[in-house]
């Protein structure tokens, strides 16, 4: 029904999905300040809600189209797309002079449909949450303008049918991320965190742009279908299509530099180059090593922003891009393995930092980096569905965790009115009694992320770890390249030990994840509330008491709370503050929905039980399979014993969860955090290193940033000394000197001017009185024609031979003379001109004919 309204290749419902958030951003941005908070909230929420409903309709239409095509193809699932061409944007010229149209075209397939649902669905929940969380903010309208704009940009990124449209969205989300991180721009750290995110992303974008250039050059297309069709030309064996790294550009070192010439030039295939460039873009956006540094700092933004942009959606754009361009990545096993290694390294590295952070949002931020690493590991070993499945589940549980943390901060903030202390876990504890909804939802999400059996995170993480062990990326063209190049060219093949290594690194990261997430949970919600001590060490005595006091509107600290316990009064405290309180329904309802999804979304793809329960057609697998079908064909070698070891690998993942969480339980519940303090003291250097994020920011500061600064300083001093000091000053000196000379002429005395005029007129007069003979020589077929320059009152007399007699004794109007010199000979002719005053002047012309005209003729020219 829907497809009859919107045809498959002109599915204009996409315009509604994209248009509503844009409209919301526009209205809130332009008139938001005057509309008031209620209207802003209505606009922002309804825009995303309508977008979500349209997305649901689109998915149902897509499902209908997919089943219809599958039935038509006899049960074989096909890659089905709903596309809509907004307008033709521009054209460019690709390799081999092909015309590359770049259209503003959008398409929905199963991959982008899933992302779309997450963005609009989770986006709506977070909008709802933020409508209450940001209640007290003066710039309410600005916040929702940015948030709507973000949803629009993210949808643009997901729905774009070609790389340039994706890039527009990619930049758009980067811009919104920048604007929202620095939302409270009055504080310097926030503003600089925004800048840091922006610049780190720029480095990645550079890679993405390079990838686009390479793709246009090699495949002659930028839309998904076109790139997929032309992907084969990325791995051709022809000599000039491989990219020469050394010597750069395929040159050759000779002479004194010959020692630099290698025996075999170092070359990579275009597929590897494209893959590396894309990977740089993905590491920037998805916060992987070495460009992850911006994400932890991005927590300076409001918490809903952290949940939406820096956990659920934007940071997964890199994984989306890898999935989307899977057919390019699989052509280069080297890049695939590199992606997996970067992912594994990031997962472990970020997890070690998360172990010791005290800021609740910082822990979650490093956890996000770590989980993104898992996703990279998944897609890197060619398990695109597994990696994307983790994107999906991570969107649910990490959004829930961030929103839960926001709820905690919201409660703490009402208590302490200090941005830093309200996020510090050392002041939390025991919150489960004060905010039960937040506690339970947070617990469920934590269970999901640490991989408690049957939760969503268990299924998705287990699948990734399993795939990391058994999958082995190989080039689908390996044999063909080897035969075609007669054994000269061997494509990279990853070593066999890489799979188990990835698995164990992943396992270690998973253990750490279980530990730090449980630590977060226990420190925040269990034990006694330690927030009473903030600013009042003496209140330590009154720890036992913590009555629920004050509602949500108790934000203002100045009101004295007479509901508070007696201890406070005894200690004579001027501002007793309020006990932490549960958040309003706008914040708890999204938490509950997301917690439910984190618990049960795993059953979309319970691949662990595929063998044991004989499950055919896992929903997500079946849904996404057509997208990755072509890419996965022949590019992944699965270990033979995969089915046998799956159970053991799953047990390993379970052990990681059990060990990590038990350790945290023992450390923070049974021993009340004592072992942690002892450990921090005994392993002081390690502890401080992790606490200070392994000094990566300082290393970057010392090397890259200082290097850039030094370069800038050098350039500035060059500018000051050479450009300003010498070039600019010299120019001005010349002008000034000329001015000084010329100024003496202008002495203001009329007579001098008149005298100069007389001299000038006399010179001109002399020029016109004397005739000026001249002629233009043109050659055609060996004939040389001399044509005299015209002048008033001129008469001409030609001498074909300069020393001989003239053609005509009297001067006449004959302006042309034709000469026929023989080959190899020269002729000198003379022209005499007389003017009206009877003065004559003569000029000689010499024409030379080349010895053998045939030798000097160009190819294809008529003789």
């Amino acid at each position: 029904m829907l497809l009859s309204l919107f045809p498959q290749n002109d599915f204009s419902l996409i315009a509604v999905i994209l248009g509503m958030p844009l409209l919301g951003a526009f209205i809130n941005g332009v008139w938001g300040k005057r509309l008031g908070k209620d209207a802003v909230r209505l606009m922002a929420l309804s825009a995303i809600a309508i977008s979500f409903v349209a997305a649901l309709l689109t998915v149902s239409a897509l499902y209908g189209a997919a089943t219809a095509t599958e039935a038509a193809h006899g049960g074989h699932a096909e890659h089905v797309k709903l596309s809509w061409l907004a307008w033709e944007w521009m054209h460019t010229t690709g390799g081999r002079e092909t015309n590359v149209p770049i259209d503003l075209k959008f398409s929905v397939d199963t991959l982008s449909a899933t992302m779309m649902l997450v963005i609009t669905g989770v986006g709506f929940l977070i909008h709802l949450y933020a409508s209450s969380y940001m209640e007290k903010d003066k710039a309410y309208w600005r916040f929702f303008c940015y948030l709507n704009l973000f949803i629009f940009s993210m949808l643009l990124l997901i729905l774009g049918d070609n790389l340039p449209v994706l890039f527009v969205g990619w930049e758009g989300v980067g811009l919104c991320s920048y604007l929202l991180i620095g939302f409270w721009y009055g504080k310097t750290p926030n503003a600089s965190a925004g800048k840091k995110a922006f610049i780190a992303n720029r480095i990645g974008d550079f890679g993405l742009i390079c990838a686009m250039f390479l793709l246009v050059h090699y495949t002659g297309a930028l839309d998904w279908a076109g790139i997929e069709n032309g992907a084969g030309s990325l791995v051709t064996t022809a000599k000039n299509t491989r990219i020469h790294l050394w010597p750069i550009g395929g040159g050759e070192f000779v002479g004194r530099l010959a020692f630099l010439q290698p025996h075999h030039p170092v070359t990579i295939s275009a597929a590897t180059a494209v893959g590396l460039a894309l990977l740089l873009g993905c590491t920037g956006k998805s916060a992987q090593l070495p460009l992850y540094v911006w994400l932890p700092d991005a927590m300076a933004g409001p918490t809903p922003v952290s949940a939406l942009i820096h956990a659920a959606t934007m940071v997964t754009a890199g994984i989306y891009l890898v999935c989307r361009m899977s057919f390019v990545f699989v052509l280069s096993p080297f890049v695939m393995v590199l992606i997996a290694c970067i992912g594994a390294a990031t997962a472990l590295f970020a997890a070690t930092i998360a172990l010791v952070q005290n800021d609740i949002k910082k822990v979650l931020a490093y956890s996000t980096v770590s989980q993104l690493g898992f996703m990279f590991m998944g897609v890197g070993v060619g398990a695109f569905t597994a990696g994307f499945f983790h994107v999906l589940t991570h969107a649910f549980f990490k959004a829930c965790l961030f929103l839960g943390a926001g709820s905690v901060i919201h409660a703490m903030h009402a208590r302490v009115h200090d941005d830093e202390k309200s996020q510090d876990m050392r002041f939390m504890g025991g919150l489960r009694k004060h905010m039960p909804y937040t506690f339970w939802t947070f617990t469920f999400a934590t269970l999901a992320i640490i991989g408690f059996p049957l939760t969503s995170g268990f299924f998705s993480k287990d699948e990734i770890l399993f795939r990391a062990w058994v999958n082995h990326p190989v080039s689908p063209y390996a044999e063909r390249v080897s035969t075609l190049s007669k054994g000269h060219l061997h494509l990279y093949e990853p070593p066999t030990w890489i799979g188990p290594t990835l698995y164990f690194v992943g396992l270690a990261a998973a253990t750490l994840t279980a530990f730090y997430m449980c630590r977060l949970l226990f420190l925040t919600f269990f034990g006694e509330f330690r927030g009473w001590t903030i600013g009042r060490p003496s209140a330590l005595l009154g720890l036992a008491q913590s009555k629920h006091a004050g509602g949500h509107d108790a934000h203002g600290a100045d009101a004295h709370d007479d509901d508070d316990d007696d201890h406070h009064h005894q200690e004579d405290l001027s501002t007793p503050g309020y006990a932490p309180h549960e958040s309003p329904w706008q914040m708890t309802v999204p938490l509950m929905i997301l917690a439910a999804l984190s618990l049960f979304a795993g059953f979309l793809n319970p691949s662990v039980f595929k063998e044991t329960l004989h499950l055919e057609n896992l929903p997500l697998d079946k849904w996404l399979d057509p997208v990755f079908d072509e890419a996965a064909k022949g590019s992944v070698k699965v270990a033979d014993n995969a089915h046998h070891i799956e159970l053991y690998l799953t047990l390993g993942a379970f052990a990681a969860f059990a060990v990590g969480s038990y350790l945290a339980y023992w450390m923070y519940i049974q021993k009340k955090g004592e072992p942690a303090k002892q450990l921090a003291e005994s392993a002081g250097a390690l502890y401080r290193g992790a606490l200070n994020k392994w000094y990566v920011d300082e290393i970057y500061e010392a090397t890259i940033i200082n290097g850039t600064d030094a370069l800038a300083d050098t350039a500035a001093s060059f500018d000051q000394t050479v450009v300003d000091g010498i070039i600019a000053r010299l120019t001005s000196l010349i002008v000034a000197a000329l001015g000084t000379i010329l100024r003496t002429v202008q002495n203001g005395v009329v007579h001098v001017y008149a005298a100069v005029m007389v001299v000038g007129i006399a010179a001109l007069g002399f020029f016109f009185v004397v005739p000026h003979p001249d002629a233009i020589v043109t050659e055609k077929n060996g004939d040389y024609v001399l044509e005299a320059a015209p002048g008033y009152g001129y008469g001409y007399r030609w001498f074909p031979d300069a020393t001989g007699k003239p053609l005509n004794e009297i001067f006449n109007g004959e302006t042309k003379l034709t000469l026929h010199p023989q080959a190899g000979k020269t002729i000198t002719a003379k022209l005499e001109v007389v003017n009206a005053f009877g003065l004559t002047r003569a000029k000689e012309f010499t024409v030379e004919r080349p010895a053998d005209p045939d030798k000097n003729m160009k190819l294809g020219q008529n003789p």
Binding site: G748, V749, H751
Partner: protein, 101 residues
């Protein structure tokens, strides 16, 4: 009839006198008079040449236009001389160098 060469010679002499007067004299009034002499030398040449044409009076009509232009020029010129005199208490051109450098 006096040949045209005589007129041209007279015109040339007059023009030379006017030119030298303009370049050599420093009194603005004399300078203006020199310009008048030069213009009238041109007028004389125009009329003298036109005498040879029986069916064309362009030269003579041109001379009339020149006389009209001269009248206007003298009116403006004398006004400038008056202003200059009020400003500088002098009509010497080499002292009127306000626009120097």
């Amino acid at each position: 009839m006096i040949p045209v060469e005589f007129y041209v010679a007279l015109s040339f002499v007059l023009f030379l006198i006017g030119g030298v007067g303009f370049l050599a004299r420093r009194n603005v009034i004399v300078t203006l008079m020199s310009i008048e002499i030069m213009l009238n030398a041109v007028n004389l040449a125009l009329v003298a040449f036109n005498r040879g044409m029986t069916d064309n009076h362009t030269g003579q009509i041109f001379a009339f236009f020149l006389i009209a232009a001269e009248a206007a020029e003298v009116a403006v010129g004398l006004a400038i001389v008056l202003s200059l005199f009020r400003l500088r208490r002098s009509v010497r051109t080499d002292e009127a160098d306000l626009l120097r450098n």
